[in-house]
Symmetry: C2
Subunit: 301 residues, 2 copies
């Protein structure tokens, strides 16, 4: 069974791990690159790395970064007056350095991502949404800032007034992305932040069109009891004017998805909303077992 | 008292620490950059860093690198098939990254070195011999290799047939180097490897001339009982055809130095050799106290 998942960071990565564990699933994960940034000259792809580490069972204790990592390099940066608010682990840094060097040699982001997946022994096909530069920009009261400034430096405390996905209008899907979607028996949108993690992917016109035309697209809501499990999804959607709860997620995905899975704690929202069917499942994935359970459940819908 | 020391890595750094501790000494250390290299896109200046760390009492347990460092980044490089034979510590990496970023912004090596010295709270003036590219190349049986390949990758086990200091012929002394030598009451050549650490400095014609013209240049032999304390100085000098022991050091420095200090274990060599006065002192510097003792001793000669 060919499955494509569109994914942001931690939530999408956990679902990917569940899907990857299913024998009959041939999985391709298409990952958001809108959060990518250059820190200290290094090409940082936070979501790609979170998905790769999670699939390799090497993710950090909070879901991002590397397991068993130290932050000595990062601590030491302060001595030289360098910005170290982005937590760059010592082991994690090797991956960032590898990517940066390979890209400096002319490799594309998708080529390097494939090399990383092979280095980690992954069987899942891991693809960036695009090899072109797409950068999520966030409008807050003080003006437009980078995603990293909003999310890391300012700890996503600001009210988000607007979003743009700089470069998405001229970006092409990475090689293999459209083919994977077209060939897929089912396309999943992981339980990621709709405006911050999924929109930067589907802001690429050809990807959005491929989803619109696909017969079976199923999204998992990132909300549990109407609130984001982690991160600012509910607050961002509210300040951007989306309806609260499930209706907001439906509103973000309308026209692209056929079925939306919400958590059992949001069971009051089932049925058809604005032309999208809404069903429930237990969407919490505290461990790999839960990820596998949810993945199986989704394959049965 | 204005003092200039020409220095390679560990031995020269230990003498510098002793000199820096003397109240009446205004010290400038001019450091070899022939071992500099680019690893993973980072500008590595092994001797500059050893001297800076040693002056800041932050040097690693073997004299090079950082105290209390870990090597997680370096270990992890292997996962991606990257060369990790050069031991790059996690904390040490922050200094390398800082230098690399500042140089990418257009700062010269001497500017960055000054910034590092200030970040470390050093009062000593620390200068690279040159801001230009000088690279020591080593001829071994298999042909010419980089210093790093000879020293790190091949663990200085090869017989050295020839040496060249690529770029030294067109390199200019870094700003302040000639002025410091001209103004110095005494110029010291630290107990560093004559062909591998000191020659790449004095291969820059203007530095050699400044030394030749200086009235008081004193060198400390790196040999103890005719052998190098660490590193391959004695073997390299032998295979390059220098006379053994003190005579070899005299031969390397003839024309530039007025007085050579050899270790008390080489007391059989005192007197005048080929026009250079040879005297003895206890040149071992296992700790800071010993460094200060030797520094005081040298200031009295």
């Amino acid at each position: 069974m060919k499955v494509v998942e569109l994914s942001g960071g931690v939530g999408g990565a956990r679902l990917a791990r569940g899907l990857a564990a299913l024998d009959r699933v041939d999985l391709t994960v298409v990952v958001n690159v809108g959060d990518d940034a250059e820190n200290h000259g290094l090409h940082i792809s936070p979501d790609l790395d979170t998905v790769a580490y999670t699939l390799a069972r090497m993710e950090g204790p909070l879901g991002w970064g590397r397991a068993d990592d130290t932050f000595h390099f990062n601590e030491e940066l302060a001595r030289f007056g360098l910005d170290n608010r982005f937590q760059l682990g010592d082991r994690d840094l090797a991956l960032k350095m590898f990517r940066t060097r390979r890209m400096a040699e002319g490799a594309s982001l998708s080529e390097v991502t494939g090399e990383v997946a092979r280095a980690f022994g992954l069987e899942t096909s891991l693809l960036p949404a695009t090899n072109d530069r797409v950068r999520t920009r966030v409008e807050i009261e003080e003006g437009w800032v980078s995603f990293q400034e909003y999310f890391v430096d300012r700890r996503h405390q600001d009210s988000v007034i607007g979003l743009e996905y700089q470069g998405a209008d001229i970006a092409a899907p990475a090689p293999g992305v459209l083919e994977a979607i077209e060939d897929a028996d089912i396309v999943l949108i992981g339980p990621s932040n709709p405006p911050l993690s999924i929109q930067p992917i589907v802001a690429i016109e050809e990807i959005r069109t491929a989803l619109t035309e696909h017969p079976k697209v199923l999204a998992v809501s990132p909300l549990v009891g109407g609130k984001a499990l982690k991160g600012p999804a509910d607050r961002v959607m509210a300040s951007l004017g989306y309806p609260p709860g499930t209706r907001g997620v439906v509103s973000a995905y309308r026209g692209m998805v056929d079925l939306l899975i919400v958590d059992t704690r949001d069971a009051g929202d089932i049925g058809e909303i604005d032309g999208v069917m809404v069903e429930t499942a237990d969407t919490l994935m505290p461990d790999e077992e839960a990820s596998i359970r949810l993945a199986k459940e989704l394959m049965g819908r």
